[in-house]
Each structure stands twice: as structure tokens, then as C-alpha cells.
């Protein structure tokens, strides 16, 4: 039931107002002075307070100010009750935060109408507070989900890469194994041949080398296929070393890429970072594209969260490869090209990732940076890659990311990062929200 607190030091007047209030179906309580009014306000939490201005000790304005200072009570609407002649009190009261006023003597209908208005206002206010509280929880939840998604996208990308990296390692493992077995097998023949040669040497020193022995050595030379071994053994060794070098390169690049870091910015050699990302992602692009790198040699270290930066480059390179694959079909018309450039532009470093893929249709434009926006078929894209790249570059590094595109010709993504660290304006990761389409 709606509760109204009536504050008046004159008992007759208090009773009169009380009755008028109850006649409207509200519950009324009376406080005969300011202190009591504050007490009842905090224990009873009335929906509206009808507050007499002229009271001894603590007057209505003082009570009103105290109410407005109290976070728990400030939202209760207060209607000032004043005599007609007390205009200045009305102004002072409204300035101090009163909701409304009535003048004595009052008509019951007017009091009733003003009460209804105050109650409505209180109800609206309460509803807004509840909605706001719910919105705040939802926003917090959403931010948490976005963080989770960013992490999930990274894990997904790494999981996908792991399969490619396994392939990159399995291939040299095959031929290093083949070559080593080859060397083991031929050594049996070579060992036998060496034995014969030792015997021939000894016999020659002793002066009793027989033609039979020479013939046996000749046969062993023939069996071992010495001419073949002379050309194949150095090649087998050379190619095995290449294989070992390849595995080493991949493993070093993996270490660079996964760079645990501490989530803080540190000076990063971007050329090296990009190179590592290109190596570990090679299985994603090498079947569809040739890679051209053009790295500025004078690039200073850039304050960067290396792991996040690598994720940006990975997303852009994988996109470039997929755009080329989409344009080239089965690749029977030859490979496309991915060109990666770095440049210094005064206080900025610029990274260009250019592809000869399908290009981005004009109708899509900036939507590519929206969360969950994807044109890739199911299973190929989550619509998170560019939105995360945008969040990392813009929010976390104070940089910019944009693209130039021509349908059917290709796309260039341009990432710009400041060389000198800037004060972070937005500490949490935020995504560009997809615009709701009506």
C-alpha cells in the first residue's frame, strides 16, 4: 500500500492532511517535528513526504536538505506544504530538490492530484533504477563474454595452426628419416668395401697382392655402386640438414609467436614478429599464394603486447590467404600474392598486408570490423578475427586499422602503431558493436 508521511507541527493541520490522504486510499503516518520526520522516513520508507515548511527547531527546508543528503532517502519525492504568503520558501524548497508544493489552505482535489503525480514520478524512477541495475549486470556480462571470445578465437587460431605446423614438421621428418636409413643401409656396403681395401693395402705392403684380391675389391666397388654413392651421399646429408634447419626455424617461430609475455607493452621488433607469424602460418598460405616481404630496415622497436600483435598479423594473413583461395578457385590458374610491408612514418609504424584476392564489396565496407560479421562459409570463419584485430590495434595500442580494396583485384589492410607509448584511454578491451539493422 502506498505510504505517505505527513510532517506538521500543528496537530489539527496534521490530522486534516492525514484524513485527506487516507480519503484517497493511501496509508498515512504523522511526524510532529523535523527530527521525527527524518527518523520515520528512514524506518518506514514512505512513497511521498508531505512536508510543512514553517516548523520550530528544524524547519521544513532543513529537513528537505537532510533528506536529499541521504543516499537512501533522496529519491523519496517531497511535496512542500506552505502558506500562500511564503513564496520565497517555495522557491527555496524547489531549489533544494522538492518535487512539488501545495499551499494552505488547500483543496482536497489539488492535494490528491499532486500526490498522484508524485507517486507516479516515484514509480517511474524506481522502475528506471531496476532497469538500469539489470543493464549494468548485462553490460558486465557482455564484457566478460567479449574477453572470453577474444581468448577463444586465439585458441581456435592456434589449434588450427597446430595442424599446419604438424604438417610442416612431418614433411622434413619423413625425408630426414629416409636419408638417415639410406646412409645406414649403404654403410653396410661401404664397410665391406673398406674391409677389402684394408686387406688389399696390407697385401700390397707385404708384396703379395694377388689378382684374386684385386678382383674381389673390384666386385665390392661394383656392389656398393660407388659412383652412385659419391653423388647421392652428399645430397642426402645436405637435404637432411635442410630438413633439420626447417624444423628448427618452425620451432623458433612458434616460440616467438606464442610469446607468453605479461600482457604489458614491451619494445618489440615488429619485422621479426611478423616474420615468425608468417613462418608458422605458412601452411595456411603457401598452397595458394607466393609471399613477398618488404621490411623497412630502420624500424625502431615499437611498444607492443607481442602476443596480441601476432594475433592481429595472423588474422590478417589468414584472411589474405582465404581471399586469394576464394578468388583463385582450385588454384589451377596459378598462385596469388601476399605482400607484407613495414614502413616508418615519422612517429608511426605502418604495416601493409596486401592480397590479390576477391576484394571487399563496397556494400560491406566497414562492417568487416563488426563482431560476428563474416562472409566465409560455415566452419571457415567466426566473424571474430577482424573485430579482435580492431580492438587490439585501436583500444590496446592506440593505433589505427583500415583497408583499401578493389573488388576482384584485392585488398590491403593497413595497421598503424604509434612508436611512442600513449596514455591508455580505455583500459578494457571493447569491440566495435555491430549496428542493429531494423
Amino acid at each position: 500500500m502506498t505510504k505517505i508521511l505527513v510532517v506538521d507541527d500543528t496537530p489539527d493541520m496534521a490530522t486534516l492532511i492525514s484524513r485527506a490522504v487516507e480519503a484517497q486510499g493511501y496509508e498515512s503516518q504523522v511526524a510532529s517535528n523535523g527530527r521525527l520526520a527524518l527518523q520515520l522516513a528512514s524506518t518506514e520508507r514512505p512513497d511521498v513526504i508531505l512536508l510543512d515548511v514553517m516548523m520550530p527547531q528544524m524547519n521544513g527546508i532543513e529537513v528537505l536538505r537532510k533528506l536529499k543528503e541521504d543516499a537512501q532517502l533522496q529519491l523519496i519525492p517531497v511535496i512542500m506544504v506552505t502558506a500562500l504568503s511564503e513564496d520565497s520558501n517555495v522557491i527555496e524548497g524547489l531549489d533544494a530538490g522538492a518535487h512539488d508544493y501545495v499551499t494552505k489552505p488547500f483543496k482536497k482535489e489539488i492535494l490528491a492530484a499532486r500526490l498522484r503525480s508524485a507517486i507516479r514520478s516515484k514509480q517511474n524512477h524506481d522502475r528506471l533504477l531496476r532497469v538500469n541495475a539489470r543493464l549494468e549486470t548485462e553490460i558486465a556480462e557482455r564484457k566478460r563474454m567479449e574477453k572470453e571470445l577474444a581468448r577463444a578465437q586465439k585458441l581456435e587460431a592456434i589449434g588450427h595452426l597446430a595442424a599446419g605446423i604438424a604438417h610442416e614438421i612431418n614433411t622434413p621428418a619423413q625425408y630426414v628419416g629416409d636419408n638417415t636409413r639410406f646412409l645406414r643401409d649403404i654403410f653396410v656396403d661401404v664397410d665391406e668395401l673398406l674391409g677389402m681395401l684394408e686387406r688389399l693395402l696390407q697385401a700390397t705392403k707385404d708384396g703379395n697382392a694377388t689378382s684374386d684380391l684385386v678382383a674381389a675389391v673390384d666386385a665390392a666397388v661394383h656392389r656398393a655402386d660407388v659412383e652412385y654413392l659419391k653423388t647421392e651421399v652428399p645430397k642426402a646429408i645436405q637435404q637432411s640438414l635442410e630438413g633439420i634447419e626447417r624444423v628448427g626455424t618452425i620451432v623458433r617461430a612458434m616460440k616467438e609467436f606464442s610469446h607468453p609475455g605479461n600482457g604489458q607493452k614491451q619494445p618489440v621488433d615488429l619485422n621479426r614478429s611478423i616474420q615468425s607469424t608468417l613462418i608458422i602460418s605458412s601452411n595456411e598460405w603457401k598452397y595458394v599464394a607466393n609471399l613477398v616481404t618488404d621490411f623497412a630496415p630502420d624500424l625502431p622497436p615499437v611498444p607492443c603486447i607481442a602476443g596480441d600483435f601476432n594475433q592481429v598479423i595472423l588474422n590478417l594473413v589468414v584472411n589474405a590467404a582465404q581471399a586469394i583461395a576464394a578468388a583463385a578457385g582450385d588454384g589451377s590458374h596459378g598462385k596469388g600474392t601476399i605482400t607484407v610491408r613495414t614502413r616508418r612514418d615519422v612517429d608511426w609504424v605502418e604495416i601493409h598486408i596486401e592480397d590479390t584476392g576477391t576484394g571487399i564489396p563496397e556494400s560491406i565496407g566497414e562492417k568487416v570490423f563488426d563482431q560476428f560479421f563474416t562472409t566465409k562459409e560455415v566452419g571457415k570463419g567466426t566473424g571474430m578475427g577482424l573485430s579482435i584485430a580492431h580492438a587490439i590495434v585501436v583500444q590496446k595500442h592506440g593505433g589505427t586499422i583500415r583497408f583499401e580494396t578493389e573488388e576482384g583485384r584485392g585488398t590491403t589492410f593497413i595497421v598503424r602503431l604509434p612508436i611512442t607509448e600513449q596514455v591508455e584511454t580505455e583500459p578494457t578491451t571493447q569491440f566495435k558493436q555491430a549496428e542493429a539493422t531494423p
Binding site: 604438424a166 610442416e168 622434413p172 628419416g177 642426402a236 637435404q239 595458394v288
Partner: protein, 148 residues
């Protein structure tokens, strides 16, 4: 009759390593570094068996296998891939109708055994076909008489 085996992989080092491993095997070895090149070899000479990598620029291994299964069904087919996925295996079996599926790194001795078995199987199939043909030749005069 000497058999011919064609190895297809985009990595030259793989081809050279396998050629060394299989050098004493009783068949001719040829190599190709792409599906397209392999198709040219298959069209120009007699090949009994192919060992195909899956991931190659241009034509994928499974596409080549499907082509061989359709156009040269008598050529035996073996997969050797460094990136085995369920999708690759399903395509190799359903479209390429492969004889065996190997993953890198594999022991070349196992590969050599599989190649030999596949070639024996092929020889038996051909013998079977020849026998069926000669049986038909024997039967046909009888049939003609019955119809007469």
C-alpha cells in the same frame, strides 16, 4: 614385366628421400612435383601405381586420385600425407578409392611392402581379366550355335 611407380609430392626433398629408400625395389620410379605434372606423366606413359601427397599447390592429392580412379582405374593408388584429417581420408577412400593410406613420417619399408602388395594385387586382377576374356572367347561359339 617391369612395373612403374610414380611418386607425387610438391617437396623435392621428399621425392629424393623416397627415391633413395626405394632404389633397390624391382620397379621403375618416376617423380612429379604436382598433380598437373602427374597427369601429364599418366597420359604419356604406362604407370602401375601412384603414391600421392595430399597438400600441394594447385591440384590437391585427392583430386588427382579421383581423376586417376575415373580415367586410369587400373592404376593402384596410395596416399602419403603429412596432414592427415578425417576429411582427407574420407575423400581419398570415397573418391580416390585408394589401396592404402600412409601418414608422414612413415617407415619406407612399410611403404615398400604396401607398394609390392598393391602391384601383386594389380597383376592378379589383370590375370583374372585375361582369363575371363579367354573364357568368353571359348564360350561364344557355343552360344552362337544355341541361337542358331
Amino acid at each position: 614385366m617391369e612395373h612403374t611407380v610414380l611418386l607425387i609430392d610438391d617437396d623435392q626433398n621428399i621425392l629424393r628421400g623416397l627415391a633413395r629408400a626405394l632404389r633397390h625395389q624391382p620397379y621403375w620410379l618416376h617423380t612429379a612435383t604436382s598433380g598437373e605434372e602427374a597427369m601429364l606423366v599418366l597420359k604419356s606413359r604406362c604407370v602401375d601405381l601412384v603414391v600421392v601427397d595430399e597438400h600441394m599447390p594447385g591440384m590437391r592429392g585427392s583430386e588427382l586420385l579421383a581423376w586417376v580412379a575415373d580415367h586410369r582405374p587400373e592404376v593402384m593408388r596410395i596416399v602419403l600425407t603429412g596432414h592427415p584429417t578425417a576429411e582427407t581420408a574420407i575423400r581419398a577412400i570415397n573418391e580416390g578409392r585408394v589401396y592404402q593410406f600412409f601418414t608422414k613420417p612413415c617407415n619406407p619399408a612399410h611403404l615398400a611392402v604396401a607398394i609390392r602388395k598393391a602391384l601383386e594385387h594389380k597383376d592378379l586382377l589383370e590375370q583374372h581379366r585375361r582369363l575371363l576374356d579367354s573364357l568368353k572367347l571359348c564360350e561364344s561359339p557355343v552360344n552362337e550355335k544355341e541361337h542358331a
